[in-house]
């Protein structure tokens, strides 16, 4: 039951945030520090160094487009599914802002249609 409540709250937060993208401005952050934190906190172990997601289908991509700030920090604090929660005690809001800045700074990947190797599949 508790998980259901967390899920509903988190998803409601995410949806609300999604509806309020225009007002959803992230705090300023350092992409360099964010990259360091992304590795230290092992975010990359599931989401990949470029936020591309994992190869097993259970690790979502989190970059390009990066989700709205309020959804991002909301999901990080109270993830709806199997991801561990990252609390203020260990990851402050500025840390989250730096990680967000890192993900936002990533160069977009080429489109699949522009990659000849992928055209084979």
């Amino acid at each position: 039951m508790r998980t259901l409540v967390i899920f509903v709250v988190a998803m409601a937060g995410a949806l609300f945030a999604g509806a309020a993208v225009a007002q959803d401005k992230a705090p300023a952050g350092s992409p360099e520090r964010g990259h360091k934190l992304f590795v230290e906190l092992n975010c990359y172990s599931c989401h990949g160094t470029h936020g591309q997601g994992g190869g097993r289908g259970s690790e979502p991509k989190i970059s390009r487009p990066v989700m709205p700030w309020s959804a991002f920090i909301g999901l990080l604090r109270r993830p709806p599914r199997d991801m561990p929660a990252y609390t203020q005690k260990w990851v402050g809001d500025q840390d989250v802002a730096d990680i967000y800045a890192y993900l936002a700074s990533l160069k977009p990947a080429p489109a699949a249609r522009d990659i000849p190797l992928l055209g084979q599949f």
């Binding site: 998980t3 172990s45 990949g48 994992g54 190869g55 561990p84 260990w90 992928l118 084979q120």
Partner: protein, 630 residues
């Protein structure tokens, strides 16, 4: 050999001890040349040597005759004294051909090689192991084969007669009941007391092993039975006649056909359904007759990925929409309909509450209870005991009989939508594969695409196809041999020897074998690289080197999050660096051509091309690729 024989002369063991003593004496003579020359040792080859006895026809020769009668091509083993006579019979009496002795460096490797070989060859390999320490080493690999429903013909050397055991190690290596170590996960075992008993039990074991559900079997081979002369005058080898696989009941299949034809959104989930191309073709015919999407779990290549009805990557949405699900030899039916949250263990129902489930499986014949690989119980609306592959053709015929002209026309109308859905799935997968394309370390999608580009002109087999999901998502599979699934029980250490075994099976069939090799797995028993080099087994090993037991990182993070403690410590005990393992050097040390480590994705293609050249020349090659963690 009778006790009287032992008393009356020098038996074989005493003779060997005597020969060793003579050798030692000779050594002393060399060391002390000034001393008087001792009396020359008798020539052991001289039949007139007083008291000398020979065993020109040991029991192990007959054992080999039995093994040969079963058309066994290879026997994998780490050498051990408890089967020394059988070993000698293989290499001398049998000329080391059919079966050929494969030198292994770990019993776990022996069994895993046999496991991978059986899936690629469609026939079993034999394995020899000490009845005690050898089986202890082998046990996890046996369990993997059990969970993967794969036959392995195992023999365990053992000294049954305590009065004849040599003091010391031979006692430590003998057991009352060798099979007790693995009895929970072998289909059948025996410890024959005579050679005739051996012949009958070995043929019986083979027959039982090959009847679906296929599983490993074990025959303990007594040392004295191997080493003593053949006494029985009328030994015979029973004729092998394999049982026809159990086809499902016709009436039950008719009922299944009615339900399938009446369903609006049926889905077929195929797990360990096919065991040959015949099974793949039969499933295609059923799916096309029903215009029914298919989900292939990946434990076998059941259905071509190129076929528009293959919607495996849409499993969750298909299950959510389905009003009927046909499960073909699905090991975890409950898991197909539900998820379970971690760590809160909250059940997440995916399927509709009213969904109907038909199961065709031989799971009810897996009558062991200790190991829990049978998964959570899932009731079915129609449960049918039968071999799925064998039952597909009669089920398809039953479906055709049930299809009225109107219903067939309605089904045909679904084709365009299903083709569109398949195309959309592929487009989404390509888009996902592009993410991080230029990243270093290399993404698993890029690695898979580069490897496919290297081998696409060959007749190919991906020996272990469950470690990275991208080949299953992207590569065009159409033949059963294209992808062989994984270990079965997720016991780490299968991938490398399993791939070597598959490559051996494919060697003479003109099939190029490749594998994506996890680093943690290779660290378990890397000696199998030497076995591949020694026996000239061509295999392209591409390291999926993420420098860690990465799944465990997530578990540690989850626990830290749950306990509100430091998440940064999850690397402790889970990652493999400081120092980083140099797999190219390791492979080279075992005599395998190797390159790496490679972190630059643009350097990957040329390295794989160089490795392919080596493999096509008949040898193994390894390319170490430093990858993204997932």
């Amino acid at each position: 050999m009778s006790e009287g024989d032992r008393d009356g002369g020098i038996d074989r063991r005493s003779f060997l001890k005597g020969a060793a003593a003579a050798g030692a004496a000779a050594g002393m003579t060399i060391a002390a040349a000034a001393e008087p020359k001792p009396k020359a040792a008798p020539d052991p080859g001289d039949a007139n040597w007083a008291g000398a006895k020979f065993i020109p026809r040991p029991g192990s020769d007959f054992m080999l005759d039995v093994i040969k009668s079963l058309d066994i091509d290879f026997v994998a083993a780490n050498p051990a004294s408890s089967f020394r006579s059988l070993h000698e019979s293989i290499v001398n009496y049998g000329g080391n051909r059919k079966p050929e002795f494969l030198t292994c460096m770990h019993e776990e490797s022996s069994v895993a090689m046999a496991h991978g070989y059986a899936k690629a060859a469609g026939k079993p390999m034999a394995v020899l192991a000490h009845g005690s320490v050898g089986l202890q080493h082998a046990a996890m690999a046996v369990y993997n084969a059990w969970a993967d429903r794969v036959p392995v013909l195992m023999f365990a050397g053992n000294g049954m007669d305590a009065a004849k055991r040599r003091p010391g190690v031979e006692w430590a290596h003998s057991t009352q009941d060798p099979a007790a170590l693995v009895r929970d996960f072998v289909k059948w075992d025996d410890q024959p007391a005579s050679l005739q008993h051996f012949a009958e039990s070995t043929v019986r074991a083979y027959k039982m092993m090959m009847s679906p559900p296929r599983e490993p079997v074990l025959i303990a081979v007594d040392i004295d039975l191997q080493e003593e002369p053949i006494h029985e005058d009328k030994l015979s080898i029973p004729k092998l006649s394999l049982s026809a696989p159990p086809q499902a009941d016709e009436r039950a299949l008719r009922e299944a056909a009615k339900m399938l034809v009446a369903a609006s959104n049926p889905v077929i989930i195929a797990d360990r359904c096919a065991r040959s191309q015949e099974g793949v073709d039969a499933l295609v015919r059923l799916a096309e007759t029903l215009l029914c999407p298919v989900v292939c779990t990946g434990n076998r290549m059941n259905f071509p990925s190129t076929h528009y009805l293959n919607l495996s990557e849409n499993r969750l949405s298909l299950v959510r929409e389905a009003d009927l699900i046909l499960m073909l030899e699905v090991q975890d039916p409950w898991g197909m309909l539900h998820g379970l949250g971690d760590p809160w263990k909250d059940v997440r129902r995916v399927a509709k509450p009213e969904v109907k489930v038909i199961q065709i499986t031989l799971a009810d014949f897996m009558m062991k209870s200790n190991y829990q690989d049978f998964q959570r119980f899932q009731p079915a609306d129609l449960a049918i005991s039968g071999d799925a592959q064998t039952s597909l053709a009669p089920l398809t015929e039953a479906v055709k009989r049930e299809l009225s002209g109107t219903r067939a026309a309605a089904l045909a109308g679904k084709a365009d939508a299903l083709r569109k859905r398949h195309a959309g799935m592929k487009e989404r997968l390509r888009a996902d594969a592009a993410l991080g394309w230029e990243a270093s370390p290399v993404t698993t999608a890029r690695l898979s695409a580069e490897l496919w580009n290297t081998i696409k002109g060959e007749k190919w087999c991906l020996a272990v196809s469950d470690r990275i999901a991208w080949p299953k998502r992207l590569w065009p599979t159409s033949r059963f041999h294209h992808m062989l699934g994984g270990s079965g029980a997720a016991g780490v250490g299968y991938s490398a020897p399993g791939a070597v075994g598959a490559a051996l099976a494919n060697r003479d069939r003109g099939i190029l074998t490749v594998t994506l090799q996890p680093d943690g797995d290779l660290c378990y028993a890397p000696g199998v690289l030497w076995t591949a080099a020694h026996h000239r087994i061509p295999l392209l090993i591409v390291m999926y080197n993420n420098r860690g037991y990465v799944q465990e990182v997530m578990h540690l993070q989850r626990m830290a999050g749950l306990h509100q403690r430091d998440p940064k410590t999850a690397k402790i005990g889970t990652m493999i660096y400081d120092p980083e393992v140099d797999f190219a050097k390791i492979a080279q040390g075992f005599g395998v051509w190797a390159e790496g480590p490679i972190s630059d994705p643009n350097a990957l293609g040329p390295a794989l091309a160089r490795a392919l050249k080596v493999v096509k020349g008949g040898a193994p090659a390894l390319v170490d690729v430093v990858c993204q963690l997932r």
